[in-house]
């Protein structure tokens, strides 16, 4: 599956890239919201994993913009901190498909992504 990861924390970005590449996914990285939206325009992925707080454009703006233009063709998963229930609800209102709260288990994330990949391949 083609996955775009948008995250401004370099270590987190590399961790997610490493785990998901190991599962056989094709990964594109974006270190801020603007780069993420540009990457989507250039080569739309099948899934976006995005942090909420990022420079230039937030994860919410990415959800809103991507879902408005591509609808269900691109799945969006939000990475949020603990205690951000309002943010998660707002993300779902904008069309986000799933969320995962930090701290999270990379293995759990991997299982969730692989389920999406399996469902989309059917």
């Amino acid at each position: 599956m083609k996955i775009l990861i948008a995250e401004d924390d370099e270590l987190m970005l590399r961790t997610l890239e490493f785990r998901l590449k190991r599962d056989g996914h094709k990964i594109t990285l974006a270190r801020d919201g603007k780069a993420a939206l540009e990457a989507v325009e250039k080569d739309p992925p099948e899934m976006i994993i995005t942090d909420i707080m990022m420079p230039y454009s937030t994860g919410m703006e990415i959800v809103g913009s991507v879902k408005q233009k591509y609808g269900d063709k691109i799945k969006v998963m939000i990475l949020s901190g603990m205690g951000q229930e309002n943010v998660i609800l707002e993300a779902f209102r904008l069309g986000a498909d799933d969320y995962i709260t930090k701290p999270f288990s990379p293995n759990e994330l991997s299982v969730r992504i692989n389920r999406y990949a399996l469902a989309m391949s059917k």
């Binding site: 924390d9 370099e10 270590l11 987190m12 590399r14 961790t15 490493f18 785990r19 190991r22 930090k102 701290p103 999270f104 288990s105 990379p106 293995n107 759990e108």
Partner: protein
């Protein structure tokens, strides 16, 4: 001759000034070039350090113990304890204090983002790099914020071998040090860690109480002991926290102890005691609350009425009806609500009440009826 001397002095000064100025400019340029060179070197070194640290952290996050192919041995974990291998160059870099600080910050930041095995592996890496010794050094300074940070990290990184140090800080005179030690002890010992409440001399701030309750909310519920002792503590904030624990964990067996707190000299303690009775509904509390009502502060009276809304019966209709004349708007409002909730008899009294059609009672009754729909 005089002419030449005049000319030379007139011509030399500008030359001297220009020379000095040029030397200064050249000096400044040389300084900037050297400074930029050092900055570049420093940035390159930091980037190299970051790359080395991040690679090691990632290795730790995804480290998996090799299976022994013997499920019994795996389950018992009795073979040599496997850990992430630390490369020699990292070992060498660990002699540099700045690198140690940098990798410590990175491991802590990474651990805040991951959970499960990955999180445990990071704690293990932290210990393997000997960073717990840095924490002990921080703890031994006399700088309060370094001590508080060290205590927070001991709890956060689950450095169980230093758990015994917490005891001496849970009642420290510095509020922040106390707070971090108390939170850390709960991370290690769970509800058992609350026993510091028995001997704490200082007040627990509202914020600290929230932090402690939050820390406990992540733990599996258990039938912890000690609340009955804390309910009679000489430290009023400990009594308040004990009342909150009674409410949150629905400790019905402490009903009598909570009733005794209604006689406490501190109105804030009594407020929380009244509030707990909402979570431990028991009709035996009704006569006690009704008797207490005239002696209470306005905010406590309002709280009593809120509790009565859940447990009052027709017997209290007379008492509640009298409060419809009270000067305090909130008391009239809560009394109306309580009367309404007693059932048909209370509703009947309310509709027959002579001031029921007049403002503001007519609006209160309309509002309460709306809530009932």
């Amino acid at each position: 001759m005089e002419l030449i001397s005049d000319f030379s002095s007139e011509a030399t000064w500008p030359v001297i000034m220009a020379s000095i100025f040029s030397v200064l400019i050249i000096g400044l340029v040389v300084y900037i070039v050297i400074y930029q060179h050092f900055i570049r070197l420093r940035n390159a070194r930091l980037a190299r350090w970051d790359s080395i640290a991040e690679s090691l952290i990632m290795e730790a996050i995804f480290f998996e113990k090799k299976s022994t192919k013997d499920p019994m041995l795996d389950a018992l974990d009795i073979l040599e304890h496997e850990e992430v291998r630390v490369p020699k160059r990292v070992d060498n870099l660990m002699k540099d204090r700045a690198f140690r600080r940098r990798i410590m910050d990175k491991i802590v930041a990474a651990k805040r983002n991951v959970s499960g095995t990955a999180s445990e592996n990071l704690s293990s890496l932290f210990r393997k790099l000997g960073l717990d010794l840095d924490i002990l050094n921080m703890l031994s300074t006399s700088v309060w914020y370094k001590q508080a940070t060290a205590l927070e990290l001991i709890g956060f990184m689950k450095l169980a071998s230093h758990q015994h140090l917490m005891g001496q800080y849970v009642d420290d005179q510095s509020g922040l040090i106390r707070m971090e030690a108390q939170n850390a002890i709960l991370r290690f010992s769970g509800f058992e860690g609350l026993h510091f409440l028995t001997r704490t001399r200082y007040s627990l701030s509202e914020w600290q109480q929230i932090k402690l309750l939050d820390e406990l909310s992540h733990l599996p519920h258990e039938d912890f002991k000690g609340i009955n002792d804390w309910l009679v503590s000489e430290n009023d904030t400990v009594v308040i926290l004990a009342l909150k624990l009674t409410r949150i964990y629905h400790r019905f067996e402490l009903f009598q102890e909570v009733l005794k707190c209604l006689d406490h000299t501190n109105p804030e303690v009594r407020f929380h005691a009244i509030s707990v009775l909402k979570a431990l509904p028991n009709p035996d509390a009704v006569p006690v609350l009704v008797q207490l009502f005239p002696r209470e502060t306005v905010s406590n009276q309002i709280e009593i009425l809120k509790v009565l809304q859940d447990i009052a019966s027709d017997t209290e209709i007379g008492f509640l009806s009298e409060l419809l004349y009270d000067l305090e708007f909130d008391i009239r409002k809560e009394a109306t609500r309580a009367l309404f909730k007693t059932g048909p008899a209370g509703k009947e009294v309310l509709s027959q009440y002579e001031g029921a059609d007049a403002y503001p009672l007519n609006r209160i009754i309309a509002h309460v009826r709306e809530e009932d729909r």
